[in-house]
């Protein structure tokens, strides 16, 4: 118990959730108040996490780990969630989603994610995932008057249950043959000759791949992204991916670290499939949220390519990738939230046509985001891909690098198509003036970071290096 101070963030969030619920229940129309309190809670939690960010502690008999990696990812989760809450305020109010449960559900999801990235135990991992997922299911169907939203929620829930079942089955296999749910013990007892253990590994990997929407476990993503309210979609695109990545890194490199050869080919397969499908399927999309869904699928493919290397550079590259991916998505979704005419939010790509004439600054910011997503130098997205490819080549996975390059060329097509629509197609009626400060600030910050990342990439790289060392 003497080390309890290292899980203060989790404890603080858990208590806050209870408090927020109380406030929400006893006060009518409390959305504004609860949102403010939640934001305040985020503000306090970030420094608490930061305080522990340089230690590496094993808690509860090695079942819970607080180290540089978990702290980095937690801060990223908190930060991205804060943005997701911050720049959607207008949208939430306009679409009558301003129920106090909204911020509370986000907070519970965050608690689940914290457990996911810190857990060193299969049970802990499962609990984290379930806490996160259940919150997300509800969030997806938050707009309960909309059939699309409820459909998205149900689909997500059913498929999520299926994947959880697979994950649990995998956990039970691993537990049955190694005798423990602790990662360290699993690593000790894991033998590549035991086919049942390998099956367990596959089941667990699939459960996790589902969470970060990697192909072929991605089918829910486009439907849920499209159906869920845009504010929720933005959140889906950000924090859960970070958490999923954290969990994957920890379980692969710690629990299954000895059988790298066994899971490398699985990861390569998932990575390649994600990159190709994300690139190819996005071309046919007309809805920008669906397009972002496929975009995120393909980006997950790149992130997994980094993990598939099995070397420190690869993990570092993946964490950098996920960080920049989050920043680019914040900017992109901020732009999507600007697409509003006469108080109706628009989702069709064609609605962007001629944006450069009506809103030159927004068009420029979105262009920066899209160029960066496409990986065009000197924007941050280029470096993200560059590091991944460097690591992949270093690990002698040349074919993976080549496929990555080819798919990034293909995916450049649909990003550039949006830019072409914005700059060269006939202009339409103006969007409504941007009234949300959150959107403006998020867009400005993310654009600046993406634009000027190349000036000093080493700052981020330094922290990520620290973080990724902790799993070696």
């Amino acid at each position: 118990m003497e080390n309890i101070n290292f899980i203060y963030p989790e404890i603080f969030i858990a208590i806050s959730i209870l408090g927020l619920l109380m406030v929400g229940v006893f006060k009518t129309n409390s959305f504004n108040l609860v949102t403010k309190l939640t934001s305040f809670m985020f503000l306090i939690t970030i420094p608490i996490v930061f305080l522990n960010s340089t230690v590496s502690m094993k808690l509860f008999s090695n079942n819970y780990i607080v180290d540089e990696l978990s702290s980095f990812l937690k801060i990223l989760i908190l930060g991205s969630s804060a943005f997701a809450l911050f720049f959607t305020d207008q949208y939430i109010k306009k679409n009558k989603l301003d129920k106090f449960e909204y911020p509370v559900l986000i907070t519970t999801a965050i608690l689940g994610m914290f457990v996911m990235v810190s857990s060193n135990n299969l049970i802990g991992l499962y609990l984290g995932i379930e806490l996160q997922s259940l919150s997300l299911y509800v969030l997806a169907s938050l707009n309960r008057d909309s059939t699309k939203s409820t459909e998205a929620g149900v689909k997500y829930f059913v498929l999520g249950a299926l994947s959880s079942g697979l994950l649990l089955y995998g956990c039970s296999l691993v537990y049955g043959f190694t005798g423990s749910t602790n990662y360290y013990v699993i690593a000790e007892n894991f033998s590549a000759d035991n086919i049942a253990l390998l099956f367990g590994l596959v089941f667990i990997l699939i459960g996790l791949a589902f969470k970060i929407s990697a192909v072929p476990f991605h089918m829910w993503t486009p439907d849920v992204y499209e159906g869920a309210p845009t504010s929720v979609t933005a959140f889906f695109a950000l924090a859960p991916k970070v958490a999923g990545f954290g969990a994957i890194i920890r379980i692969l490199y710690i629990a299954f670290g000895n059988v790298f050869d066994e899971w490398q080919s699985i990861l390569i397969f998932i990575s390649v499939a994600s990159m190709i499908l994300g690139a190819v399927a996005a071309i046919g999309q007309t809805n920008i949220k669906r397009l972002m869904a496929y975009s995120s699928i393909s980006h997950m493919g790149y992130g997994l390519a980094g993990l598939a290397t099995g070397i420190n550079e690869g993990v570092t590259a993946s964490v950098i990738y996920i960080f920049l991916y989050v920043v680019m998505n914040i900017g992109s979704f901020a732009c999507i939230l600007i697409m509003k005419r006469k108080d109706i939010y628009l989702e069709n790509i064609r609605d962007l046509s001629g944006l450069s004439k009506n809103h030159p600054l927004v068009a420029f910011c979105l262009t920066v985001m899209l160029f960066s997503l496409a990986g065009i130098p000197p924007l941050a997205g280029f470096f993200a891909k560059f590091y991944i490819f460097m690591a992949v080549v270093k690990a002698d996975l040349i074919i993976l690098a080549v496929i990555g390059l080819v798919t990034s060329v293909i995916s450049a097509f649909y990003y550039l198509r949006i830019i072409k629509i914005m700059y060269f197609d006939p202009e339409q009626e103006k969007f409504d003036p941007i009234s949300s400060k959150g959107v403006k600030i998020s867009l400005a910050l993310s654009t600046l970071l993406i634009l000027f990342y190349f000036l000093n990439p080493s700052i981020l790289n330094f922290f990520v290096n620290l973080a990724s060392k902790s799993v070696q």
Binding site: V154, K155, V158, L159, L162, S163, L166, I195, L198, F199, L201, V202, F203, L205, I206, F210, V215, P216, F217, M219, W220, P222, D223, E262, S265, I266, F269, L277, V280, A281, A282, I283, G284, Q285, I410
Partner: protein
């Protein structure tokens, strides 16, 4: 001063080219004309300083390339040869600049035209003042560019565009030869500065190299490639086809570039490289052969052409042939002398022709002219002077230079000397014939133009006539005034080692009957052509009728264009279209960009269709993925 001379045209070109739109037509013309006039005044001063006082200059502008053994400077190198060229280039250029003010008065793009002219002048000066092969090549390509721009100046005319492209492409063949020549020089002498190369050449006499399966002496290879370059630029036979077509450009351009200056660059190159050519008697013989043949063949074509500018163009081609065979016979100084005098009378003829064309409101066909000599007396008399000078009428400038060439051929011991002398005399006769034909068809006989009435034919303004007057003075007196310096008793001191003679050049005086032969033939041609082209056209027609195949052969310019079209253009087009349609279109595009995009599109459509929206499909896909991975795990 030399800096000013060379760079004033560039400055003028730059100012007018970039800011001409804001400066307006008047100021643009003022800037270019005055700058080039200053330049020409300076060049006359430098000429007197260098040629009379026997000074030479080598001014380094700055270091251009230092790469291993290759050290090159941008420089202004002035010796007698250069100074002669300077006078020719800048003075003709200045007069053409002034003339253009009048000639282009109806053109909307005056600043662009003046800028191109000045740019050309600068490039030509770079060419002649170079002290190394690379700067010469730079100028060589620069004048080619200016020529391309000016031929295609009226870019809305398709014929002008294709003529410009033709000039550029045909010149490329020659330039390729020149480039190879320079490569060879650099490879074997380690330098491309004239001084070093000329010093090294005598040490390489015995060196043989083999190229394309032919083994021959290095010097011969170098010379033949340099000469191919010269042939291209100077429109010698086989590479001459671009010059007549280049007449699509405005007439002042024809006068400046395609008569007086650029086309003589080939002659200049041969003379400049006389220290190399002198060691290759074989190539000198080839030069004689090519030059004499060109002189003859261009003369025959000139006899039957009806476009006034094309007649003069073929005449230019023919005269360039004279210069080449003079150089091939070792009489470099006489070649340059002919170049010098030719610049005056040929520019005069072109500008005079321009004046006629102007008078007839842009009519170039001589059959639609005639009978106007009283209406445009100044142009008429100036054209007469030009014609007399060209044909070598006694004591005009052409007489001294051309007869010197024919005499050289007579007294030469060269292998092709007999051929050259026969052709020289014959071509002189033909020159006289077609020149007077031009005069008679244009100015005499009956008025044949349907588009404009006789009373509307007008004399050109003074701004066009004054330059003509200066050129006429040159055409009359240049030969007499400079013959002693260029080719006479003082030629050794005058050239001051800028031309290299392996053996001392001696001119045996031929017997009197030979001396009189050419002038008599030339004079005889006048009444003859008067009879045929004015007095009794019917006998001419019946003569043509009898010799129809020969006439067709000449009218069609020895079928060179058709031959090249068949040999090069059509196969090239076929190969090109093969690579385009089959190679690029079907194979590369089909399997590359187009095929891939089609593939990606269809895959994309499939992927989108796959996303059915049904929950059980999604679950099915997950399970399929699961079983694939499990199977993989079991097998491997």
């Amino acid at each position: 001063m030399a800096y000013l001379l060379v760079f004033l045209p560039l400055v003028a070109s730059f100012i007018v080219g970039i800011f001409g739109r804001f400066l307006g037509d008047k100021i643009s013309q003022l800037i270019t004309c005055s700058f080039v006039l200053i330049s020409s005044a300076l060049s006359i001063y430098i000429f007197s300083d260098v040629a009379i006082n026997s000074n030479t200059y080598n001014l380094k502008i700055f270091n251009w390339i230092t790469s291993g053994g290759l050290v090159l400077n941008w420089s202004i190198n002035i010796d007698t040869l250069t100074s002669v060229m300077l006078v020719v280039v800048t003075s003709v250029s200045a007069l053409v600049h002034v003339y253009s003010v009048g000639y282009m008065s109806h053109d909307p793009d005056k600043p662009r035209f003046m800028s191109y002219l000045s740019l050309f002048t600068f490039m030509m000066l770079m060419l002649v003042t170079s002290d190394n092969f690379l700067q010469l090549f730079f100028g060589w390509e620069g004048v080619g560019l200016a020529s391309y721009l000016l031929i295609g100046f009226w870019y809305k005319k398709p014929s002008a565009n294709s003529a410009a492209i033709k000039a550029f492409v045909v010149n490329r063949v020659g330039d390729f030869g020149l480039a190879i020549g320079i490569f060879l020089i650099f490879k074997y002498t380690g330098s491309i500065n004239f001084v070093d190369v000329f010093k090294a050449i005598p040490t390489l006499l015995d060196k043989n190299i083999s190229m394309l399966g032919i083994e021959a002496s290095l010097i011969s290879f170098i010379c033949i490639f340099l000469f191919i370059g010269a042939m291209g630029k100077s429109a010698q036979i086989f590479l001459h086809t671009w010059l007549p077509d280049a007449m699509e450009g405005p007439t002042p351009v024809s006068a400046l570039i395609h008569a007086a200056t650029m086309v003589t660059a080939g002659v200049f190159l041969v003379v400049r490289c006389s220290p190399i050519f002198e060691y290759s008697p074989f190539v000198l013989n080839i030069i004689v052969l090519v030059g004499a043949t060109t002189a003859f063949f261009a003369g025959t074509i000139g006899l039957v052409q009806n476009d006034i500018k094309r007649v003069i163009a073929y005449s230019t081609c023919s005269q360039l042939g004279y210069m080449f065979f003079a150089a091939g016979l070792g009489a470099y100084h006489i070649a340059i002398f002919h170049l010098f005098t030719h610049a005056f009378f040929k520019a005069l003829l072109f500008l005079g022709a321009g004046s006629v064309i102007h008078a007839f409101n842009d009519e170039q066909n001589m059959r639609h002219m005639g009978g106007v000599w009283k209406k445009i007396p100044y142009t008429y008399s100036l054209m007469i002077i030009g014609t007399l000078a060209l044909t070598g009428f006694p004591f005009l400038s052409g007489f001294f230079s051309k007869d010197a060439i024919i005499e050289t051929a007579y007294s030469s011991t060269s292998f092709f000397a007999g051929y050259a002398v026969t052709i020289g005399v014959l071509t002189a006769f033909m020159t006289s014939l077609y020149s007077w034909r031009l005069i008679f068809m244009t100015f005499h006989g009956t008025f044949n133009n349907k588009n404009i009435s006789l009373s509307k034919v007008h004399e050109s303004p003074a701004v066009m006539l004054v330059p003509l007057l200066f050129l006429a003075l040159g055409a009359i007196f240049a030969g007499y005034a400079f013959k002693d310096y260029f080719i006479g008793s003082q030629f050794i001191q005058f050239w001051n080692n800028s031309i290299f003679f392996l053996k001392e050049f001696v001119l045996h005086h031929p017997p009197l009957w030979f001396l009189l032969l050419t002038p008599i033939l030339v004079l005889l041609a006048i009444p003859l052509s008067y009879y045929f082209f004015v007095k009794d056209k019917k006998s001419l027609d019946s003569f043509i009728e009898i010799n129809k195949p020969l006439y067709n052969f000449l009218v069609n310019k020895w079928y060179f264009d058709e031959l090249y079209d068949f040999l090069f253009v059509k196969p090239a087009k076929k190969i090109g279209s093969f690579f385009w349609k089959i190679g690029d279109g079907t194979i590369i595009d089909g399997f590359g960009p187009d095929g891939l995009t089609k593939l990606i599109k269809s895959v994309s459509n499939k992927a989108v269709q796959f996303q059915s929206g049904f929950l059980y499909h999604y679950a099915f896909v997950i399970l399929i993925g699961l079983s694939i991975l499990l199977t993989y795990m079991m097998i491997f």
